[in-house]
């Protein structure tokens, strides 16, 4: 299997979150198929860019869910990849 690029990994993480509506960190890490170190890096990036938001429920458990900006990234993902390929960037 080919190594995933940075944008592809972000898309995969956001897709998992979108499909689950909101998800805890541990199952997200498992489904993202990344080492915990790389997962932390990507999670920090998508949180800094406000693609996801952290929420805490009544049982004091932490969840992440997709923001509008995160949904916009998923919508534009094909366009971004096609732009990069078109201009050989």
């Amino acid at each position: 299997m080919a190594k995933r690029g940075r944008l592809e990994i972000i898309r995969d993480i956001l897709t998992i979150i979108r499909d689950s509506h909101s998800i805890k960190f541990t199952p997200l890490l498992r489904k993202a198929n990344l080492s915990s170190l790389r997962f932390k890096e990507y999670l920090s990036e998508i949180m800094t860019k406000k693609f996801v938001i952290e929420t805490i429920d009544k049982k004091n458990e932490k969840f992440v869910s997709l923001t509008e900006k995160g949904a916009s990234f998923l919508e534009q993902y094909r366009t971004i990849i096609s732009f990069i390929e078109e201009f050989e960037l």
Binding site: L7, K49, I80, E85, E88, L89
Partner: protein
């Protein structure tokens, strides 16, 4: 009358302004049209691609609008103690620096993955752009200008071609590098057109039309791909 103004008058102020206007508008539309996909992706290739077109817009602003001011200097009875040559040299320096950096940013955008995002190359490119700009205004010999630009053209085209060959082996076929190479050829055309005013006498308008065509082609592809 300084040679830059002489060359300017020969083709006509209208053609010069329309040409620069087309390049500036295309470049700014490319820059702002790719803002959203860059902000979402933070992809370095897109960052340098956008910066290249911002620099093109700045370069062409100085190319024409300061030339317009220079023309004013020759016709508005400016006192002789204000030397036009200083303004001419400054204009050429700014135009050459920004247009060279535009090309280098485009080159870096195509090569950044191969160069592992090494930022020292950007510093080297800034230094190279300053050296090119200074050499172009300090040496008045036409042969020096031609040799310097021929070397630059070969250097940049070979890097773009190598990058394209490497990419062809790993991903799908794309012929956009031909547009990049044409852009590089017309970058040299514009530099020589500024430095040696009569060098392209007779084909200057044709050159302007083809240059505009290249920028319009890139803009069309950007709009098509970015959906903006």
């Amino acid at each position: 009358m300084p040679p830059i103004i002489q060359g300017f008058i020969e083709l006509g102020i209208g053609a010069e302004i329309i040409y620069s206007f087309v390049i500036i508008i295309c470049s700014l539309m490319i820059y702002f049209g790719t803002k959203e996909i860059y902000e979402l992706s933070s992809y370095k290739g897109i960052k340098y691609f956008r910066r290249a077109f911002l620099f093109f817009a700045i370069a062409y602003f100085f190319r024409s609008f300061i030339k317009f001011i220079l023309l004013g200097f020759s016709s508005w009875d400016i006192p002789p103690h204000i030397p036009g040559a200083i303004f001419e040299g400054l204009t050429i320096f700014i135009f050459l620096y920004f247009s060279s950096m535009a090309i280098f940013y485009l080159l870096y955008g195509v090569m950044w993955r191969k160069w592992n995002g090494d930022k020292t190359k950007i510093i080297i490119f800034h230094l190279l752009a300053i050296i090119i700009s200074l050499a172009s205004i300090l040496f008045v010999n036409k042969l020096v200008h031609i040799m310097l630009n021929a070397f630059l053209l070969l250097f940049v085209i070979s890097i773009v071609y190598i990058a394209h060959r490497n990419r062809q082996n790993s991903s799908k076929h794309n012929n956009f590098y031909i547009v990049y190479i044409l852009l590089l050829i017309f970058w040299i055309f514009n530099i020589l057109d500024i430095l040696i005013p009569r060098f392209f006498q007779g084909i200057q308008l044709f050159g302007y039309l083809v240059s505009s065509g290249i920028f319009l082609t890139i803009l069309y592809r950007v709009i098509k791909k970015s959906g903006k």
